[in-house]
Structures are given as structure tokens and as C-alpha cells.
Amino acid sequence: MSCSCHDNDPLIPKIAVIKEIRVDTHDVTTFKIVDNFGKKPFEFLPGQCAMISIPPIGEAIFSITSSPSQEEYIECSIKKCGTVTDYLHQLEAGSQIGVRGPYGNNFPIEELKNKDLVFIGGGIGLAPLRSVINYVMDNRDDFGKVDIVYGARTPGDLVHSKDIFDVWPKEKETDVHLTVDRLSENWDGHIGFVPDYVKSLNFDSNKIALVCGPPIMIKYTLQALEEMGFKKDQVYTTLELKMKCGIGKCGRCNIGDKYVCKDGPVFRCDEITELPNEY
């Protein structure tokens, strides 16, 4: 997937416009981004990332949360937690930013075909998974049973509420299991951490699991899956690290002999155990 930056230099962003802003939670907002001509900035595969630059503040990389089958725009759900994201959250619809990409590898769609799938997301970790979930929903028959386990700290932190409450539960053979960490009012769903919830759901181990969320959640979820008999090469996850160039040259996201922005961010778990634990 050669990237589509103009005059073929991978570092130079294109001018893009924030078409629409949807506030998901108090610190997560979803941006619909189109290029200067109102069209989709570039083609991508589920799991790939885009580098959003706001001159003169800086640049940061975000996983694209809309499905590749969405033609008009790309969507990024961004949590407010740093200089670039703070500034992004102040922008209103119609303001211009720079965008370049796509970067990184993608969820291996071929391996997922006609298999039962488990998507396990935590907090903002649902954003990268939503891209592949929506892709699966748009080609529903190619895939087996789908289970979505998604948890966050409080009900207010659950992102993409439209999808998780209305759209996905109505899909064919799809169960959505939601949980929040602590008891909170007007929440009658499951209470508890995602890894424990996964353990209690006790999926049988012929499924493929895709996990994404804060590192602590990934660690315990992988242990839970292992106890249920999931082998390492049945589980995929994305690594979050500082990425600057996006093309595997600037050395920031280098762990072991891999570059997360080029050989990742999606890794199979047996590949991850080979990497030194510095992520």
C-alpha cells in the first residue's frame, strides 16, 4: 500500500479538512477527515494509522477507526492527553490540518476469514478495533461468530456509543459484552475489569482474538486467554509507541529488531514475546 503523499515524499503531509466532529466522551472526540477536495485522503487497510499534523504545534500518529469500506472520509477517535491532542480538541469543524499516511501493517484479514472472532477492547483501545469490526460487519458472511468485549473505567468513558449499543448488537451472530470497572449509577451491565470479564465469559479456544487497550489490560487479557487455551498465534494486538516518521527510519519506535510503525503496530502474540519487553 504505497502511501499517497504528494510528490512522493513520505514525510510531507497533505492539507486536509476536519469535516465533522462528534464528541464521544469528556476526553474522546471522533474527527471525520477529508482532503482539501472533500474526498477520502488515502486508501488504507483496517488497523493502519494516519499521522495528523497541526503546524506549528506538532504531529502525532492515530489509528484510523473508520472501516476501509467507508468511501467519503477517514475517522480518527482521539483522546485528549497531550499538546497535539489538546490543540486538536479545540479545533472546530472546517478547520484545516495536515494528514499523511497510511502507516503500519494491518489486521490480517485473510487469517480472520470464516473464523470465529473475539474483539477485546479497553478504553480508547476500541478505536483501532472498530476499523476491523466495521469491515467485518460490511462483509459479514465471510466471517464466523463475532464476540465483542469492551470495557472502560466508567459508563461515561465508553466510546462509539452508537455502535456498541445500537448497531453491533443487531448484527448477525454478534454478541456485545460491555463492562465498566466500578459500580456507577444508571449502569446495570457487568461490573469488573476486562480481563476478569473475559475469563468469566470463557470462550472456547478455536477463535481468533484481537486485543487492544492500555498495556496493563493487554498483559492480563493475554494471560486470561492463555488459560482458556488460546495459543499465542491466535491472538493479535496493537502496540502503542512514540512514532515520528512512520516509515521505520527515525528509530523512535524501534523495539528489538522490529520497527512498530512499519513491522507493526499489529503484532501476533508469538512475535511480541520475541521482542524485549520495553513497550
Partner: protein, 348 residues
Amino acid sequence: MKKILKSNLPELWQKISADFDLFLPLEKNKTLNFSLWKEGEKVNLDRVRTNASPKHLVFPQTETYLKIKNENKKLSFKAVKAKGDQYVLFGVRPCDVESFKLLDNIFLKDPVDTYYKAHRDRGTIISLGCTNPEDSCFCSSFGIDAGSAPKGADIAAWDIGDSFIWKAQSEKGQKLMETIEELFTDIDEKDLKNLEEEKGSIQENLKDLPFNSLDLSKIKGTQQEIFDKEEIWNEFSERCLACGTCSHLCPTCHCYDLCDYKGSSHGEKFRCWDSCMSSDFTLMAHGNPRTSQMQRLRQRFMHKLVYYPKNHEGIYSCVGCGRCVEKCPVHIDIVKIIKKLGGENNEL
């Protein structure tokens, strides 16, 4: 193969700098660096190693790649093309020529870095045999022959006493030789004998260098085992100042940072060198995976001795130029680390 007398070198520089930017090892304020030759500058070809490597010619320390205008919320981007005209780089030692190849392995691999490629294509590199290597040189342990010229050099040159022998090795080198044909004379038997003698004496000098017995194959163990040798990494990082001298001086260090320059209503995006030894190299919004200096030091030397070879058919990301051995304020260098990892536990 042609010969030129040392006496008419100034004339040669004059001729080359007529239509090329000529970079030579020049001595300014008591330090030797590759810089643009101008009439009357003091060229010093005896000292074997320039202070800083010629890396800044192909990978400048700061390079603006995008100009941005931001008038009332309307952005306009203007890409900045790599500029600069053709240049000739004379006096590059075999280790620095080899370091260009190591940088090529990173920058010219798909997706190609257009800026680096432009700087590389504009240059004609003339390597010079190492007449007297310094104590801290150890290029032989990386298979670099200080006497001959690596394939990456467009022209190979040797100092045979009263004159230099030039041998074109690439068509770019051949083209340059033709433009300066008349200053050169053909070589005869005596010169060839001198050349062999010179190469022999270089090998002789190499033998009694303190680090000539450095053997990298002694580093045993998988990536994880070497990674887990914590007491070695702790011992070195205890005195490390996290200053970044080693990575900015090293001809094969290629990490960079993309930064923004904030003007009044305009701005610029530029690329600049960065060092994995500095504390904010991997700092991100939700934390820093490498908080201790031991982790940063380990990353630097693991990258050079384990990770880079794994991605590039066993080639180490070091050319043994010895600059880190000389200039580290607390004398941490890759030679000590290779020895310690190789199990030689002379008390370090």
C-alpha cells in the same frame, strides 16, 4: 589509474572547485573537519580522522522539508526540495565511506528518503587510504581494509610519498577524472611498487593497534539473552551522562526527530539529528518505555550490534572509526562493550 604530484594539488583544488563544491579536511581553529574549500584554507591530509564524520554532508543536522503559511485558519504547505549543487568530497577514509553504505541501507530502502537520496546523488566521493591509523581505530574488526577503497567510493586514492594515485571506481568517478585529466600523469612501474609498499606499511601499522584483536564473533547468545545481561549494562550506564555526543558523532547513527518551528503567521517543519541517549527520545503522552539510562544505553548498543545486523544480513551498524572511543566524556565506547559482551572480563 593516474598520478598527481602533491605539489600541484592546490591547482587541482582550484580546478575542481570551479564547477563543484569541494569538501576537504580543513583545519580551522585547531579542529579538523570536512568543510567547503576556499582559496587559502589549510588542508591537512596527514591526520587520519576528521573531528566530526562527513555524515552531515549526506544527512544534514537540520533540514527544513516543509514551509507552512497559516493566514486566518487557511493553511498552505510548500515542500522544500533538497537543494545544493554537485560536490566532491576528497579525503574520506575507508571507514567513513563504509558508513555511507550503512546509512544507505536505512534511507534508500523503500520508502526512499528523497532528501538523503538527493544529497547522495549530488556527491562524488574520493576515498584516501589510511597511512597511519590512530590508537582508537578498529575498522579491521568490521572487515574494512584501511589500505584499499571500499566499493562505495567513486574514486580511490593513495598517498605514495610525493604524489597521489587516483583510480576511478565508478562512472561518476570516471566522469570527474576526465574533467581534470590534464593535471594527471600516467603511472609507471616504480609508482606501482610504491603503492604496494604503501599498502604493506598500512597493514603493518594496523597490526600493532591496541584494538586489532577485537573479535565480534565472541558475542554469543540470542537477542533476549544479550538483552538480559543487566549487570553489564548497569555497569556502563552508571557513569553515562546521557549527553548524546556518541550518537551525534557516530557516522552510522541515523535517528532523527521531526520538529516544528513556530514563526508569527508562518512556520516550518524540519528534520534534525536526535539521540536515543537523551531522556525524551521515547517520551510520549502516556509515559516513557525507557525511563532509566541503562535501558537507553542498552538500546543504543543492542541496535548497533544485534538489531541492525538482524535486519541487514549480519552487517554491524559500526565502522570502527573510533570517534566514540576518543570523545566520550566518561570513556564508554563500543569496544569495551564488545569485549565485555564477548566474555573477556578484563576488569572494565
